[in-house]
């Protein structure tokens, strides 16, 4: 019989296995997160509308990523865009949770050979075919191989711990308490942030004889409340939809774990055959670990039961405890939707209405920095800017989808190009106004700076309302008016620039920089509005021609 390995070497191997496992999991998640382009996200969005497809996709994503956080983030984004709703998203998150059971079942299967092949083949491919077409596939496969190898190392060397007299002396000195094992499960899940990792560790320690089957079960049950604690405390900074999803995960996982714990003690105290009774009676070899894994399956199934049984009131309750944030609400497009890309004319009309809506928000930026604060601001400038950026991104993608419709008529192609041009101008407008607001924000108005600020705000507000009139009415008169007032900004702005920089204004260096910057942004705004009026004129002419 070979001598037992020294304890430090065994610990080193176990730590190496754990490290490989963590790095592999991280790699799988990172690579999967890279996949979600718009099409992938839209596919998920469509899937949420079909319960069976949504459940299947949630399960598959859970199996691949071994976490529900990726699905939660994608779904929160889709809900913010109005593509999915909380009632549609919750079952998908629950099924992503359920997908975690697959890895747990694989722990005691001879899959390490498969893992070694994955590491070898994908590693060689990545070395020699850096820009090959399968690179995107090989990177997550390589990471998956690391996960499997990590599990193998942990399993083999945890088994060796039982041959080490020092290790066994240590384990024997630790009280063998089921409740302690449960608390270990709670703490480990909260810290490690991966349910399957903790369950895998519990199974490996159980398979090595360090944990009893009962203790392995308790570690497993502890992951439920551990998930809840992690969701509630470590993501307490989340707001709105994302918070709703994490609270939901906390409720179903915490609830399922506590029910399993209650059943365990009910059996202990009341001698009712509930859980442990069935452990040796399940088919297969008890030492294989699949029996304990079956209890994880039961716990995750309980999560699904909780999900579907609370679906009627859960969304309303979640909305009550963490209402959608103003930014999430403002980031939701009001007019465009995936369905609207099917009809070119309708799609284009809705995109134009969305654009008008964005310009209509812009005076709101100025309200936030008005010294008289005459009108109540719609939202903080950061909120307005971030939500406008979100809608602009949506609009860009929406117009690209319209391009994919196949533009048969020249007039349709021109109309689309014009809308894309207006989108670009409005994006420029938003950016410039944001820069001006940022410049003035938090500065006590005084002297020449106050004069510039007040005049720029009032002038800008007027220009924006004139643009809104032109966009809303589409009348030649309003469009011409916009064109006239934005025709020659250079001369006026130059004069102002020279005037404000004269010595009598007694500005310090930073104030001069601010004035120059604000006037430059203002010039860009006037230019963009001039281009917008030209674009609207072209639209009027094109409409008249058709």
């Amino acid at each position: 019989m070979a001598d037992a390995l020294p304890l430090d070497e065994i610990i080193a191997w176990i730590l190496a296995g754990l490290g490989l496992y963590f790095m592999g999991m991280g790699g799988v998640r990172t690579n999967v997160q890279r996949i979600p382009g718009r099409q992938f996200r839209d596919f998920i969005g469509r899937a949420t509308k079909t319960p069976v497809l949504g459940a299947l996709l949630g399960f598959i994503l859970g199996v691949i990523t071994q976490t529900s956080i990726g699905v939660s983030v994608i779904l929160a984004g889709l809900i913010s865009r109005g593509i999915a709703t909380i009632p549609m998203a919750l079952p998908m998150v629950a099924w992503a949770n359920f997908g975690l059971v697959v890895l747990v079942y694989l722990v005691h299967q001879p899959i390490h050979l498969f893992g070694l092949f994955l590491i070898g083949l994908s590693g060689i491919y990545l070395q020699f075919f850096l820009r090959g077409r399968f690179r995107g596939l090989c990177e997550p496969l390589y990471s998956l191989g690391l996960v499997l190898l990590g599990i193998r190392l942990m399993k083999v060397y945890c088994g060796q711990l039982t041959d080490s007299p020092q290790a066994m002396e240590f384990f024997n000195s630790v009280p063998h308490s089921d409740l302690l094992a449960f608390l270990f499960g709670v703490a480990a899940r909260t810290v490690i942030q991966s349910t399957s990792t903790v369950v895998v560790l519990g199974l490996i320690l159980s398979g090595s004889g360090i944990f009893s089957h009962d203790q392995a079960l308790m570690v497993l049950f502890g992951t439920g409340p551990g998930t809840a604690l992690a969701a509630l405390f470590l993501t307490s900074h989340f707001k709105g939809v994302m918070r709703q999803i994490t609270v939901f995960e906390a409720v179903i996982n915490g609830g399922a774990g506590l029910v399993m714990l209650a059943l365990f003690y009910l059996e202990e105290i009341g001698h009712v055959p509930l859980l442990k009774y069935w452990l040796p009676r399940l088919p297969g070899d008890i030492e294989s670990g699949s029996h304990v894994a079956s209890f994880f399956l039961a716990q995750q199934t309980l999560c699904l039961v909780f999900t579907y049984s609370t679906l009627r009131w859960m969304p309303a309750w979640l909305e009550k405890i963490s209402p959608m944030t103003q930014e999430q609400d403002l980031s939701r497009p009001r007019f465009i939707s995936d369905a609207a890309t099917q009809d070119f004319e309708t799609g284009l009309t809705l995109a134009e209405r969305e654009l008008v809506g964005l310009v209509q928000r812009m005076p709101g930026y100025l309200q936030t920095i008005r010294s008289d604060n005459a009108e109540k601001a719609l939202a903080a400038p950061e909120v307005l800017h971030n939500s406008s950026l979100a809608i602009l991104t949506e609009l860009e993608a929406f117009l690209s989808a319209l391009t994919d419709q196949g533009l048969q008529r020249r007039s349709a192609s021109v109309a689309l190009l014009q809308t894309q041009r207006r989108l670009s101008l409005i994006s420029e407008l938003d950016d410039c106004i944001w820069q001006i607001v940022q410049g003035f924000q938090g500065r006590p108005p005084a002297g020449a700076l106050q004069s510039v600020e007040s005049n720029i705000i009032e002038a800008l507000d007027t220009l924006l309302y004139t643009a809104i009139d032109a966009l809303n009415s589409g009348s030649t008169e309003d469009i011409e008016l916009l064109g006239m007032i934005t025709a020659a900004p250079g001369e006026v702005v130059d004069r102002l620039r020279r005037g404000y920089l004269q010595e009598e204004h007694q500005l310090d260096h930073n104030e001069r920089i601010l004035i120059l910057s604000v006037l430059s942004q203002y010039e860009r705004i006037v230019w963009a509005l001039q281009q917008l009026s030209r674009s609207l004129q072209a639209k009027v002419i094109a409409t008249a021609d058709t």
Binding site: A374, E375, S451, N455, I456, I457, E458, A459, L460, D461, T462, L463, Y465, T466, E477, L481, M484, I485, T486, A487, A488, P489, V492, V493, L496, Y522, V526
Partner: protein
């Protein structure tokens, strides 16, 4: 906000005093429009007593200008303070509403 209107040789001379802002603009617009609600109006606005002009005030002036133009008339504004002239110039409204330094030059522009 006070609006004083005088008819003078076929010209409507309106003196604007006080603050033309988002509080006073709605009523001011109604009153000003009433004074030019006839064919070919000729309107001179004396802005020398005007203390403050906000964006809402600028839109009021724009509304009046549109009305005058629609009636085939003419409009001129004079006597603005430096600050009010600056707002009108930055916003580009001087290209729509002819601005003059004095009543005489405004009267001349209206062809009186």
């Amino acid at each position: 906000m006070e609006i004083i209107c005088v008819q003078e040789n076929g010209i409507t001379l309106i003196a604007l005093s006080g603050r033309l802002d988002n509080v006073t603009s709605p009523s001011a617009l109604t009153e000003l429009i009433a004074h030019v609600d006839h064919p070919q109006p000729r309107l001179m606005m004396d802005a020398s007593p005007l203390e403050y002009l906000s964006s809402a005030g600028l839109r009021t002036l724009l509304g009046v200008t549109k009305k005058v133009r629609a009636g085939g008339g003419k409009i001129a504004i004079f006597g603005m303070s430096d600050s009010i002239r600056e707002i009108i110039e930055i916003s580009g409204f001087h290209s729509i509403i002819p601005c003059f330094p004095s009543a005489a030059s405004a009267r001349e522009a209206l062809g009186v």
